[in-house]
Symmetry: C2
């Protein structure tokens, strides 16, 4: 087929992939080519705009390294990541909802006892005591593996520090729930923060007049055989960015009540003369097969 114009080229491109052996690959490539061509026709993309797009993708790729994933951030900020998460985990009522994984999880976080650890390790911030239970069908889930990680008061994760190594991780830990499905830890209150804006995602946000802010949150990953793995955040009720999260991650069942106390007894049994926060939260898993 020759003499292709901007309309006939789509059928020809689909004819070229007709012999794709993997039916799923064929299904995905067919939809991708159709939407890519429709997009370019719909907006009558010009040659300079096409080149700007090529160079944007190239710069995005060059920003990706072992410690930075600008394509994931681009997917997050275009709403693609949360869309894929949502359609991959339709949850019944009363089961904790999934949200975006984000780029800051690491494998092999330090294992801590089920109760009593301080994850702050001296990082400055307002004290926070988290008490949590993992349940399913109204019963405690003992022995669940829990990963947690969150940003400091300035919005930075430990892995963004050039001196970081996994053995001295901070604001990050792995737990196992006790016989009553519970775990608890002390840390510092997370704050809202901007996603990195010094790359191509920052260019895109600026060009579209968008905020880079994410509401304050703590990440949790909860896994136990027999249950759908749960990857979620616990956001803070009242945060000003709950309705404008730059990565579209906020879901109603993922908002916790971070309670401020002027002073007094903490969930750990000690008594503080300074203000502190508590968060008591319940994660509900979905049994599978």
């Amino acid at each position: 087929m020759r003499n292709l114009d901007e309309f006939t080229i789509t059928d020809e491109a689909l004819r070229r992939i007709a012999a794709t052996p993997d039916t799923r690959v064929k299904e995905i490539m067919t939809s991708l080519i159709r939407h890519l061509h429709d997009f370019a026709r719909d907006v009558r993309l010009t040659e300079p705009e096409w080149l700007a797009g090529i160079l944007f993708l190239t710069r995005t790729g060059h920003l990706c390294s072992d410690v930075r994933q600008e394509f994931i951030l681009l997917s997050d900020t275009l709403g693609l990541s949360q869309l894929v998460v949502a359609q991959s985990h339709s949850r019944p009522e009363n089961v904790s909802e999934q949200t975006v994984f984000g780029p800051f999880h690491v494998e092999g976080a330090p294992k801590r006892p089920s109760h009593g650890s301080d994850l702050a390790q001296g990082v400055p911030g307002e004290p926070l005591y988290v008490t949590a239970q993992v349940v399913a069908d109204g019963h405690p889930v003992a022995g669940a593996e829990v990963d947690t990680w969150h940003a400091d008061a300035d919005g930075f994760y430990d892995v963004q520090d050039e001196h970081w190594s996994v053995d001295k991780a901070w604001l990050r830990a792995a737990f196992r729930t006790d016989d009553d499905g519970r775990f608890s830890f002390k840390s510092i209150l997370p704050k809202s923060y901007p996603i990195p804006t010094d790359g191509t995602v920052g260019e895109m946000l600026a060009a579209t007049n968008r905020s880079p802010m994410r509401p304050a949150h703590i990440h949790f990953k909860v896994e136990k055989d027999g249950f759908d793995p749960l990857i979620t955040h616990v956001f803070a009720e009242g945060d000003e960015f709950l309705d404008s999260d730059a990565v579209f991650g906020v879901r109603g069942s993922c908002i916790g009540n971070y309670v401020r106390h002027d002073s007094g007894p903490t969930p750990f049994g000690d008594v503080l003369e300074q203000p502190f926060y508590t968060l008591d939260y319940r994660f509900t898993l979905q049994p599978v097969g």
Copy 2:
């Protein structure tokens, strides 16, 4: 807006870019977000498939350098480049058609006289004599700037050679048409060749069972004030890949007659005792403004 699901997230993403100051940026981003989301929903993209896509784009970006542009090659092989070219240059009948620019043009090619140069400079191949005229509205276009470049008999362009530099370029030159709109040169016969398959585009072609072959061709860029710049190829009548060009670039008006001669007088006035080829071609420009 919170509690976004895989359907409501699209309207929310569009609401976020509502204040985009540049109306063209807003138009493009609106269509991009709609098609990106529709694609992911249409195929019910899974989390592992999403991650495979992220890593494919990342590897594609890492392959891009000063001498390689894998994103352009990806756009070419998905039919996007030719689609954008086609809708950017709708030509009246009898005007030479545009096709893809490709990644191998360089600025500043060596200037040669209008007639008589040998571009092969010793590169082995079958001798080819090209005689051409540039016209518009039936009249010769004198003083047009012509760039030409093509691959060697093994399918490689000079810029793919690690010892290349622009001052010693081969199979590449810049001309100016004479008073009768003509130029001519000697070179070697171009051959069909595969596009580079050692990167992510090669992965895509293999996964979709596609050929990487391009039909033999010579690139031409013809420019003169008062005329729409022409970027095109001259393909060879009878080439077995004319209907399956990996980058969808073949157009009927871009096929030339490369004539084989067993021996005899050449267009340059000398006489060869060995086989050689001739190509006589006419480029028709479109006046603008």
